[in-house]
Amino acid sequence: MSIPVPSGVQTGVAAEVLDPVAEVEATAVRGGLRRVRLGVLGWLSLVVVALAAVLAVVGPFVRPFDPDLSDLSFAYVGPYGSHLLGFDGQGRDLFSRLLVGARTTFLGAAFVAVVAVAVGSALAVTAAWFGGRVDRVVSAGLDVVFAFPGILLAVVAAAVFGAGLLSAGLALAVAYSPYVARVLRSAALRERAMAYVAALEVQGFGAWRLCLRHLLPNISGLVVAQGTILFGFAMVDLAAISFLGLGVQSPQADWGVMVSEGKTGLLQGYPMESLTAVLCIVVVVSAVSFLGDRLESAGKQAHR
């Protein structure tokens, strides 16, 4: 239900918008994604993420050694010849395992982010567009799902479907959806309340056309930002789940699994496997979250 806005209030807001200085600032950020200023750190982050993405695809083909070939006589041996980082506790080539491990970490997180954002934005736009009862039902449903933290849902999923990347990924996607949906719902509600949407409704435009061609594109900056932020969260949570033994299963090479497997060595004074895997995760996650923050603040400003 919409309440008529007193015209006097609108005059005040409009007069403020008309302020030329405010206008200059507003035009500098309107348009969202195209005008995000990255800066040195931003570009660095972009390079890191791009590198990780390339590795996720070609990692298994460029690795110097077989990541699964174990020779116990090399267990915990440090950098040696062309084995740049040496060997893990089972005598497997560490560098090769890191290269191959990028795949599950990166693609798994991408899967979670894409599914969560797709589901979340569909729910958000639906709730915002129809409002009223639809909005209340969607919001109540989201509240229930919200009661399940991602990790808990993943543990339950592992118990039900068995441990594995797919069940962990699905569990996280479900657990993240309410977060995306909440953020995007309020953005979509603001957009829904814009006069241009009402004007196009009066033109006789249908809901599909309005949502897909006008409303959604105008919140796309935030959608991408949310996707990026969730991608970072998903990398962390998936690695954590694998670390717990409920995600990717040993002996498959995966950064989370490697942190966990390397712990025995770490406590005995051979930290190479755990720490290199931790370093990979931390670097890529920082890069992703840095980009996400930049996109989000640009998107939010564009949305004032």
Binding site: P6, G8, A15, D19, V21, V24
Partner: protein, 339 residues
Amino acid sequence: MSALLEVRDLTVRLRVGGTDREVITGTTLEIGEGEAMGLVGESGSGKSMTAKAIARLLPAGARVEGSVRFAGTDVLGLSGADLRRHRAKVAVVFQDPRAHINPVRRIEDFMTESLRTLEDVPRAQARTRAADALEEVGIDDPARRLRQFPHELSGGMLQRVMIATALLSQPLLLLADECTTALDVTTQAEVMAILDDLRRDRGLSMLFITHDLELAGAVCDRTSVMYAGQVVETSAAHRLHADPLHPYSAALVQARPDVTSTAERLVAIPGRPVSAFEAPAGCRFAPRCPHVLDGCRGHEQTLVDLDAGRVRCERAAALRGRLLDPTESPTESEETADA
């Protein structure tokens, strides 16, 4: 009348996205004790920034040149406790009271805060004074209002709270920045009347900022008109409407429809109002001026005395008395493309 406030050649630049944007250029005005001065202009004219500069409320990174003297002290040089004392003597009533009053504190807290903090007035006494002040601005049941939160009051009511609060600290100058723009017309008339009465009772000076020439004319002694960061005219308020000195003032008068008659066609000013940093060289109004000559564009115009007023137009003397003459008004020229 000795001048309480003197603003000389005030220039303000703000940093926006890494570049300096000039928003006020060489503004000059003075307000005598007990005098009400109107400051009229369209958006971007720099009228609000002038008020902010006087109260020293400019955003961080603003660069200010020129001088502002208030009651004999140089305002731009103040800092620390002296600056706070200056601010306490200059009360500001802002346009949007809802944004300008802390939403999570009660009306009483808002009203008595400066009394209790700056003057150590005991709580009970401060409350009584606040209640009296509310009654003066025509608010019924002040005791209940004092216990309420801002969101429980209407916009007109909040603006009256704002005015009552401004007067509580016994300032010497009132800066009213579009303080009735967001209100309904009947509420505006009432709030204006309250402001006008109380100001006269106390012999308070006022700088009244508005886009409404007629409203300024009704409550002010003199009015200054700003365009693109400059004062282009200062005249007696009642005269500005009937006998403007500057072509821009005249254009403002004519562009506004009249409630008592229907014009065949409004005399629109082509183009749009610009800010100081977008303004052309030479006379800033030249691109929109119906009386422009080639000479106007050549050099900056200066503010000169003319017929008991002041005007920034070298043709003002030549155009005396003809600006509002319908036979003199040039036909509406094609709107020039905006920059």
